[in-house]
């Protein structure tokens, strides 16, 4: 990674007062280029755009403060975007292309499949990646040393819901069934959730799988209807998550409560389902109640205001995890005092920082070890944090279905 001195910035420096030119003299203002391949079109276009917004806000906020401080010299962040059309092989190729251009710092694409493909290339090319949205534990089980994820791993998505129910639901439900999409990420979510449920003394029924992106999950629901589970937990994305709640109503499947990974914190979930969304539990990487702050973004509430002001919508956790990944790079470069890729890598590995996203500190496999997930519940059409207790905004309503 090199600090690129552009002609434009020299001109700008030339325009400054002489005093400035002396103190900042050696501070040849340059740019810090970071490559980001994103799912801007294709099936993950929606999440890709949210991720881009997160990266963009990071660039704007950091540059508004003069840029990244690299050993006393300020460099403007310059994130270069490419569209990987939601395809893992394209995402991996784009990382190679960035490498050919000399760009060694990579911000991850959206989703586990793309990130997993990128991580292998990053490792081979000696680049370093801040992973914002690849949560599958598999990414971190391969001994990679150059991928660092700010988000909680996939196993936590359903586990956190199970823990919240075990802790807060009265009367405590007895049986749990998992309905899961069949992609790698969702399966890992299911495995993690089932293990936690067994450990906490629930009777866990056989999980039911359906194709990733299915709009019809009626077969899975018909199969579990006869078993009368107390809790149905979906390891899903938005489409399947909406289908579970909608078709459960059509088919008369009425557990005490629904929990779903990924889908409920997305505003589309409540919008699409209307009243049916009420009291559905979900897990979120970040909520506006998350504790912690940093010098660029302030607290989670400040961050929410910035997203609202810049993009005209309430923040989603996809925004926040993207910004957090970018922030991790900025902090690591500042800590390293260099934009050299190996020094940045070492600085990331040793990073221990507080942020609007919570604490960021990586274990040797590259996962953020301290960050808990929050559990939210849709109450009156809004997602409110109900777990963990210390950051709860409201009490969990149980049973969730009437």
């Amino acid at each position: 990674m090199t600090v690129v001195i552009t002609a434009g910035s020299l001109v700008l420096a030339g325009c400054g007062s002489k005093q400035e030119a002396k103190t900042a003299g050696a501070a040849q203002s340059g740019t810090l280029a970071i490559g980001a391949s994103l799912t801007l079109t294709g099936k993950l276009a929606r999440e890709g755009l949210l991720t881009k917004e997160g990266y963009q806000l990071c660039q704007d906020k950091v540059n508004a403060k003069g840029g990244v401080d690299i050993g006393g010299k300020k460099a403007k962040l310059d994130i270069q975007y490419q569209d990987d059309t939601s395809k893992p092989d394209v995402a991996a190729q784009l990382v190679d292309q960035f490498n050919d251009k000399g760009i060694k710092l990579i911000l991850g694409s959206y989703g586990s499949a793309n990130t997993e493909a990128q991580a292998a290339v990053v490792e081979r090319n000696g680049q370093v990646m801040a992973d914002s949205a690849g949560a599958d534990n598999k990414i971190f089980s391969k001994g990679y040393k150059r991928t660092f994820a700010v988000l909680s791993p996939a196993t936590e998505y359903a586990s956190s819901i199970v823990k919240a129910i075990a802790e807060l639901a009265t009367p405590k439900p007895k049986t749990v069934v998992f309905l899961s999409a069949d992609d790698g990420f969702s399966k890992t979510v299911t495995e993690g959730g089932m293990k936690t449920a067994k450990d906490l003394g629930f009777t866990v029924l056989d999980p039911q799988y359906f194709p990733n992106g299915a709009t019809d999950v009626s077969s899975a629901l018909t199969k579990v209807k006869g078993q009368k589970p107390d809790v149905i937990i979906g390891s899903v994305h938005l489409v399947e998550g909406v289908a579970i709640v909608k078709q459960a109503k059509e088919l008369g499947v009425t557990p005490l409560g629904f929990g779903e990974s990924v889908a409920p914190p997305t505003p589309d979930f409540a919008k699409t389902l209307g009243a049916l969304a009420e009291n559905v539990l979900g897990s979120s990487q970040w909520t506006q109640a998350t504790a912690g702050q940093d010098k660029y973004f302030g607290t989670a509430k400040d961050y929410a205001k910035d997203i609202q002001a810049k993009f005209g919508h309430a923040p989603e956790y996809h925004n926040a995890e993207a910004t957090a990944a970018c922030l991790a790079f900025v902090l690591a470069v500042e800590k390293a005092g260099s934009s050299d890729v190996n020094k940045v890598r070492d600085a990331l590995a040793g990073l221990d920082a507080d942020s609007f996203f919570g604490k960021i500190k990586f274990d040797p496999s590259g996962q953020n070890i301290y960050k808990p997930m929050s559990v939210i519940q849709i109450q009156n059409g809004k997602a409110v944090t109900v777990w963990p207790k210390e950051s709860a905004e409201a009490k969990m309503i149980w049973p969730g279905t009437k």
Binding site: F210, T222, K223
Partner: protein, 294 residues
């Protein structure tokens, strides 16, 4: 047993809707030998029109779907008249490429116009269910099924009994002879494509009511239309209905008794088996295979 009945009912309802999605695709393929890869995008566009009507004018989606149909008819007519007619005599790869490009344009256009957010047209009744002896029949899906079957039958009647319909069939069988009889093939083609797009739009509005949609779902609908049309037999409108119902049932039963992730593979397996024994599809007629291309 009640699980089996439930799966059967649900599969039939789903199949009826699939049939309406596919019937236009099958018509265009059968009459013009154009495999319209933008068909799924038309379905989604119809859903957006229905959604907008519901959002801005509070129009019930089962009324809004007629507006979807009208909008899509005009769009389809214009697309064929101004665009596809230019290359309709060319090799099939050219029309494939053209409609593939159209699909990309439409899907990305919808991404920009409506964002990639998932949507659903909300009604108070679509998720309610009638309970018949332990089997639940969702009202929205039942309505959609009834309409899908009625529209398919109506389409068959139009094609077989009206002058316009017969000119469509005639052009499909032998364009040269049809033109000699004074049929304006260019107009008939555009009309056919318009009807197909209109039906896709209607199906889209219903899908938006009973399920969710976003621009990226377009490809899946094209693929399903392909399977249903080939399974039922090309150019035969009853073929699409039969194909749709068979696929709906196969997926429902397969989902019930096999691991749930196999349903798509199963749909294609059924297609392969049918094609081995009946290469013209379940209801296909031999003369389509032997028709003249002039």
């Amino acid at each position: 047993m009640s699980a089996f009945l439930q799966a059967t009912v649900y599969g039939l309802l789903q199949g009826g809707l699939l049939a309406l999605v596919a019937v236009g695709f099958s018509l265009v393929w059968g009459v013009m030998n154009v495999v319209n890869l933008a068909h799924g995008a038309f379905v989604i566009l119809g859903a957006y029109v229905g959604w907008e009507m519901n959002q801005w004018f509070g129009l019930d989606p089962f009324l809004g779907m007629f507006i979807s149909a009208a909008v899509l008819f005009v769009l389809g007519y214009a697309t064929q008249r101004l665009l596809i007619n230019l290359v309709v005599n060319g090799p099939i790869f050219i029309t494939l490429l053209l409609t593939f490009g159209l699909e990309l344009l439409l899907v990305q256009g919808m991404n920009l116009a409506f964002s990639a957010d998932y949507r659903s047209i909300e009604t108070s009744y679509a998720s309610q269910s009638l309970v018949l002896g332990g089997v639940r029949v969702p009202v929205g899906r039942l309505l959609a099924f009834g309409l899908a079957v009625a529209i398919t039958i109506l389409l068959v009647a139009v094609v077989n009994r009206t002058r316009t319909g017969m000119s469509i069939m005639a052009t499909g069988m032998d364009r040269g002879a049809a033109r000699l009889m004074g049929i304006r093939a260019r107009h008939v083609y555009a009309l056919t494509f318009g009807i197909a797009a209109g039906l896709a739009g209607m199906a889209g509005a219903m899908i938006g009511t009973v399920g969710t949609f976003s621009p990226s779902a377009a490809g899946a609908f094209t693929l399903m239309s392909f399977v249903v049309a080939v399974l039922g037999g090309l150019g035969n409108m009853y073929g699409a209905l039969i194909g749709g119902l068979v696929i709906g049932l196969v997926q429902a039963w397969g989902g019930q008794y096999l691991p749930g992730t196999w349903v798509n593979a199963l749909a294609f397996l059924v297609l392969i088996v049918v094609l081995i024994f009946r290469p013209t599809g379940l209801a296909g007629k031999a003369f389509y295979a032997a028709r003249l291309e002039v």
